[in-house]
Symmetry: C2
Subunit: 428 residues, 2 copies
Amino acid sequence: MSDPLRLGIAGLGTVGAGVVKIVRQKAALLEARTGREIAVSAVSARNRDKDRGVPLTSYAWEDDPVTLATRDDVDVFVELVGGSDGPAKAAVEAALKAGKDVVTANKALLAHHGQALAELAEANGCVLRFEAAVAGGIPVIKALTEGLAANEITRVMGVMNGTCNYILTRMENGGLSYDEAFAEADGLGYLEADPELDVGGIDAGHKLSLLSAIAYGTQVAFDAVELEGIGRVSIEDIRQASDMGYKIKLLGVCRMTGRGLEQSMSPCLVPATSPLGQLEGGTNMVVIEGDQVGQIVLRGAGAGEGPTASAVMGDVMDVARGTRVTTFGAPASRLVASTPAKAATPAPYYLRLALADKPGALAKVASALGEAGVSINRMRQYDHAADAAPVLIVTHKTTRAALDAALAAMPATGVVNDAPVVLRIEQV
Amino acid sequence: MSDPLRLGIAGLGTVGAGVVKIVRQKAALLEARTGREIAVSAVSARNRDKDRGVPLTSYAWEDDPVTLATRDDVDVFVELVGGSDGPAKAAVEAALKAGKDVVTANKALLAHHGQALAELAEANGCVLRFEAAVAGGIPVIKALTEGLAANEITRVMGVMNGTCNYILTRMENGGLSYDEAFAEADGLGYLEADPELDVGGIDAGHKLSLLSAIAYGTQVAFDAVELEGIGRVSIEDIRQASDMGYKIKLLGVCRMTGRGLEQSMSPCLVPATSPLGQLEGGTNMVVIEGDQVGQIVLRGAGAGEGPTASAVMGDVMDVARGTRVTTFGAPASRLVASTPAKAATPAPYYLRLALADKPGALAKVASALGEAGVSINRMRQYDHAADAAPVLIVTHKTTRAALDAALAAMPATGVVNDAPVVLRIEQV
């Protein structure tokens, strides 16, 4: 019988408490499946006195996660503190330098420091696992790193922020405005302290950058993710999209092209009948496309105590079984710096413009598009009461560069009020 | 740099040729991701002279897969011969006894001999992996064995025979009869040489029995799977189900209950709006439900050269990385014999009966149900020309035992022609 695998857990919020509960309540199951006892040696959090619904007195307490991470009786440091820098980063670095394996749910930390931490882990013979950082309970990191490793990945797509999907679903099904749906999500406690992390696409962008690194053997490049939040999506856009057989999702897409690595996290139109289009509420979905396997769709809860703790413990159990996989699925020294390619793959686009109510306005817009080489698939002008006429345009496939050239020419026409809403139609 | 990992591949059909192609064409990718060169040493198949679209002359040839399996220059024996006994079994046993790791796509072999082979593997310090045996390219064995290992699994469901799903989809969307859809699938080469393996649910039942063993830590018990094929599903059933918001799928379900392990592979009604209900054509889907993670849905191609070879190579790459996981996710000695429980979890059922055109016929059927404690949720009798009146009944939740008692009483009523069609409505 092997020695127990001893955990040091920093961060005792919902997920940390959930991890402790699993270790306590499922000891026999964990041991049967891994052949090894899994135990908690020590824990750390900001407030020692808070009741977390699980007994903690049998574990050593450390006020400082760095001290916790380097204790002699800790084999695996479980980092659930959060934040891209500060104590989380210091403690993970300390753990790796001390030769401890690390399991974390911290997407921000890895999005900003993934390459350095992967190098540090490998230099110290440690593993650094992060299943819980992406899409909650869905074992997508494992699928991409291990199960689908024989594939050249052609595209990864994901709806990975449940709060945004909740807001968009409520706008669609409940007829709420963006502000109303946002307020409702806020009232339910779905939003991060800084809501921009959710609705600005930052949190989901962090996750996408980790998937990209694994998929393409590249160094994590969060700064190269084209981020666009859902704040400009109106109920009118959702209705128009629906009329044409589409849903609007905050969709992450990464793909390697001849020009470089495209990574975008932005509201997109997807076919309503596709798995992505059918996804409602807070559920997450990741679609992985490989040259051998075709399309694999993974769906499940993207957040919450149970799902996230399930992912953390899956990583811990891998360590208990002796599984040693490189952080991003290839040795850190072989991960290459990628060239960012701004969404260059031609796609159809959805545009909504407010035109001044002047004769010839529509013709001027159509000309601006035509002169940039953007051809129009559908155009529709609405009945309107005020002096700005809403016009909806769906283009044929075009590059974003051509579209941007057309959009840059719009102000000079003198007939376009406000910046147009521009949404890519992702073919899935 | 480690030594190369050397494969011996037995069986050079579509999948075997696909595996050789991946090893040849993606050598750099495989080596970058695993840190180890992966090479083929020797191959074996029935016909040496057949052109398989990939060069084989640089590999040693063995006529006998047993000889191949035990060659000194083979580290991993890749078994793609198929069949539950005969050369596949002999070669896998020989490989394990010789201390070789084994990767196989053979569901029948493991469904019938999984426990003995798992014991043999562990006695010899070998791993026996079979991702490709279940749901083709979907990394479901890995998800269940590793990623979701911290969960008590509450239910696993799967649509895992693409041919059956194709036939049912064509009946629904194309208005074909079962015989017409079957003939179409046959013409497209979708059916096994013995079609009963597909439409009788045997192939999918094999797969379900493997998932059950992993989910519940039980010895594989294929013989305990309640098998029912799709041959009695009529287009009328599909239309009636559709009217009520359901689709009919050949659905595998396993769950552990207080009475024992339920495993069934049978045509069931599932909500049309659920991921399972939305699945069309040859695609596979597995739904895993765990106490922590909630519901995880995995979807992808269930067969074909690329997807199956992707799964085989995923297993091979795990071996190359040094990952050693027990066959069914726990040591073979700890897998317990399960008590089979015939579908005992209460569920609503769909019944279609042909009643004799006699006064009081419907009342007699309703009485028979009522006396067995089965209560009726909906009942509908159709307009009819001939002397047998089709009647459709949807029950409230009931046990299968109560329903069977009611069905056993039907012949004595003297008003029921033929055996009723009985389909469970699975709540998903």
